[in-house]
């Protein structure tokens, strides 16, 4: 196709300009892809199971529920197992984020019934259950700190006025499909309870149901069961529970969306500017083409193809860079912000990046292209 070849040849005429435009498109799309990947990583609820329901106080997570609810919840039809999880928080080593990981007080007898995907050898389960001052940890965490079975650790309490002093590692669990879940520790709730004077309070109950179809029935039953008590509850799927934290942070999606839009508008102006410059320079040439018999449409497509080529090449470069960078970021995030270690360039993000590149290329070329197609030969040739 002659027009296409000519358009690409034109790109080579001012190499600096083409390269600069391409790089600005690429850097903008790199940014867009990164923003999107972060947003998706934040919203990923890896490991949430649709047969699990979380029951917590209707007031908020900072208010705890009575221990007596445990047996009552267990009697709701379709509920197979219930385990308590109390968020201990605390400080391990220091306040730096890389030393933060979730720490839960729970019940060793029921934890694995509710989380069957957590895998741990039976002898370790027994050893953990038998020793009050012991804990278990996920494999990733164990590797990170080079702990071994029998290693003691200490964590300073903040929510609870009690420090975990030299609790001993008795088990290492793995979660094959959700390694993020391997960055937690669990210890005996009973151990904590005794230390703080048996307050008999539980932060969250995790329920395992027979099938995901029973979720609505169990949610309604649990909320109804305690409707007239002093401590009303809220029941929701594990996924909804995880997403509620994101909801509290506020409208991050809107913020990122606004930034993304500004980035796109900004590259649109940059590319449109370049295309206008390059088209203006060649007004004379276009007039010659027209004199030779090329139609308005053909001259128009000449400019559009040129701009489209820059858009696509810039998008490929930007997305490629994002792909490389995201891989590196995921590795770096593992240590500092484990939440973001799931960050990846999904096919969707590739699609968005390339789509925006193509759209920018088309739109940016359109204005000078229309001007070129309307060009009157006599006017154009008269210009210097």
């Amino acid at each position: 196709m002659a027009i296409g070849t000519l358009a690409l040849k034109n790109l080579k005429r001012n190499k600096t300009r083409t390269a600069l435009t391409l790089l600005s498109v690429a850097s903008a799309l790199l940014l867009l892809c990164l923003l999107w990947a972060f947003l998706e990583a934040m919203q990923s609820v890896e490991g949430a199971d649709d047969t699990r329901v979380v029951v917590r106080s209707a007031i908020s997570l900072a208010t705890l529920l009575p221990e007596a609810y445990w047996q009552k919840i267990r009697t709701i039809p379709h509920v197979q197992a219930v385990t308590p999880l109390n968020w201990y928080q605390g400080t391990f080593k220091d306040d730096r984020p890389e030393n933060f990981f979730p720490r839960f007080a729970t019940d060793p007898a029921t934890l694995f019934e509710v989380f069957p995907e957590y895998q741990m050898p039976d002898d370790q389960k027994k050893a953990w259950a038998a020793e009050r001052g012991s804990f278990i940890a996920g494999k990733e965490l164990v590797d990170k700190y080079s702990w071994k079975i029998g290693s003691p650790i200490s964590i300073k309490g903040d929510i609870y006025p009690f420090d975990l002093t030299n609790i001993v590692l008795r088990g290492i669990y793995t979660v094959p499909n959700a390694p993020v879940q391997e960055r937690q520790i669990f210890f005996h709730r009973q151990y904590l309870e005794e230390a703080i004077g048996n307050r008999g309070l539980i932060g969250t109950y995790f329920l395992r149901l027979d099938t995901s179809d029973s979720v609505p029935a169990v949610v309604t039953a649990a909320e109804k069961m305690f409707e007239n008590s002093d401590s009303q509850v809220r029941a929701e799927t594990e996924k909804a529970f995880n997403l509620s934290f994101l909801e509290m942070i506020g409208n991050i999606r809107l913020l990122f969306g606004a930034i993304g839009l500004a980035v796109v508008i900004s590259i649109f102006f940059i590319t449109a500017n370049t295309m206008a410059m390059s088209a203006r320079e060649r007004t004379g040439e276009m007039a010659v083409l027209k004199t030779l018999g090329f139609g308005g449409g053909q001259v128009m497509s000449l400019v559009v193809i040129e701009s489209l080529a820059v858009g696509i090449a810039g998008a490929l470069l930007g997305c490629g860079l994002a792909f490389g960078l995201v891989g590196a970021l995921a590795k770096a995030a593992e240590k500092v912000f484990p939440v973001f270690s799931t960050i990846s360039m999904t096919p969707k993000i590739w699609g968005i990046g390339l789509g925006v590149g193509i759209a920018i290329g088309l739109l940016a070329g359109l204005v000078p292209a229309i001007a070129a197609s309307r060009l009157r030969i006599a006017d154009a040739l008269r210009r210097v």
């Binding site: 300009r17 997570l61 942070i249 930034i259």
Partner: protein, 388 residues
């Protein structure tokens, strides 16, 4: 010999369309940068307005925030009676026990968040004179009445005057909206402490106690006195420090985000500036040849183009900064990661933030203008003059 600035300025606008488009694209970078930093600025302003250097907040030892803190009323009474606590006009100590409860509420857009319910004693209004009821009336203890911070009233459903809301076991009625002069208290609901304790069955305890000393120096002394008291085993903090910690913890993410964006976006904008300046150089070859021929040295040409690029950046920076000003009317809400509760605040484009946005644009312009400027200064006179 120097080339007058007017020449640069006029040259830029010979090719209006190109220059304007470049200015717009750099201005967008500045706008985003200022916008994200304005979030951090707003959070910092809100927390700074909350702390008073005369005030001391007392938490349970080991607790990092009010949410985690609690201790017995007996200790709260001992604190109020401590020497160094200032007294009000009737001789009452300027001390207030506070009960802090998080309550899930729906925002106006239907999403949910934890809202701070703060149980307070009457002395709190003397301790925090910036808190004023601007609509309705103050609450009366024992009648299940609350007053709501103005940001919260705007952003959350069902918090208008006269509306009822279940907090714990009791239906409370909103009787007033208060303004706390831009501070983080604007995101809270205040309740008489006894009512809150009763409704949530909290027993004979408080979350924290806030004390006012006669002066900032007296507050420091008061902190030391409480720290030294082995019987209390409590953790006193200057209120300014307590809120500064929260300001830093919560605004850090926005500062990081803003700077990462600034670097990446200005990278792209640099290329745009370079393109424009290359076009300027190319279009003015003959002019440059003439300037050189009449005796202007190479470095003057270099300087002239850099100045021109800087003007381009400066203009873009000013446009971006101006476009960012309306952001100040936006109220945003996020989670206070320390107390785990909603904090609403107004975006703040402080002069410092605006200045750094403009600075970013100038740097972008100059960096983008550098390669074309060098290229322009290096070309031989003969070649320049020969160009059409």
């Amino acid at each position: 010999m120097k080339i007058p600035l007017k020449y640069n300025f006029r040259s830029l606008f010979v090719r209006k369309a190109t220059t304007v488009m470049t200015i717009v694209s750099i201005a967008f970078v500045v706008l985003v940068y200022i916008g994200v930093l304005a979030l951090a600025g707003g959070l910092k302003t809100a927390f700074a307005a909350s702390g008073d250097p005369k005030n001391v907040i007392v938490l349970r030892d080991g607790a990092k925030s009010e949410t985690e803190s609690f201790f017995g009323l007996d200790k709260a009474r001992l604190l109020a009676a401590m020497p160094g606590v200032a007294r009000g006009p009737k001789g009452e100590p300027l001390a207030s026990g506070q009960a802090f409860v998080l309550q899930i509420l729906k925002r106006a857009d239907g999403s949910e968040s934890n809202v701070s319910l703060r149980g307070v004693e009457p002395a709190i209004f003397a301790i925090r004179p910036q808190v004023k009821v601007i609509e309705g009336r103050p609450f009366e203890p024992g009648r299940a009445e609350v007053i709501v911070g103005r940001n919260l009233a705007k952003r959350f459903a069902g918090l208008a005057i006269g509306q009822q809301m279940l907090f714990g076991r009791v239906q409370f009625r909103v009787v007033g909206i208060f303004d706390a002069d831009g501070s983080s208290f604007n995101s809270e609901i205040w309740v008489p402490i006894a009512d809150l304790r009763d409704s949530f069955r909290r027993g004979e305890n408080v979350s924290t106690v806030v004390l006012q000393a006669a002066s900032a120096e007296a507050a420091v002394a008061l902190v030391d006195r409480i720290k030294a008291d082995q019987q209390l085993k409590l953790q006193p903090k200057l209120e300014t420090e307590y809120f500064a910690e929260q300001a830093n913890a919560n605004s850090r993410q926005f500062v990081i985000l803003g700077n990462v964006l600034a670097v990446l976006m200005s990278f792209g904008a640099c290329f745009a500036a370079a393109n424009t300046m290359y076009a300027q150089v190319a279009a003015r070859a003959k002019e440059l040849g003439t300037l050189r021929a009449v005796g202007f040295p190479r470095r003057t040409i270099l300087a002239a183009f850099l100045v021109e690029a800087a003007i381009l950046g400066l203009l873009a920076g000013c446009v971006g900064a101006l476009a960012a000003l309306p952001l100040n009317s936006i109220t945003a809400g996020t989670m206070n990661g320390v107390t785990f509760s909603e904090i609403s605040f107004s975006l703040r484009t402080t002069p410092q933030i605006l200045a750094s946005g403009i600075f970013l644009a100038v740097i972008t312009g100059v960096l983008g203008g550098l390669p074309p400027a060098i290229a322009a200064s290096r070309r031989p006179i003969t070649q320049l003059l020969r160009e059409v």
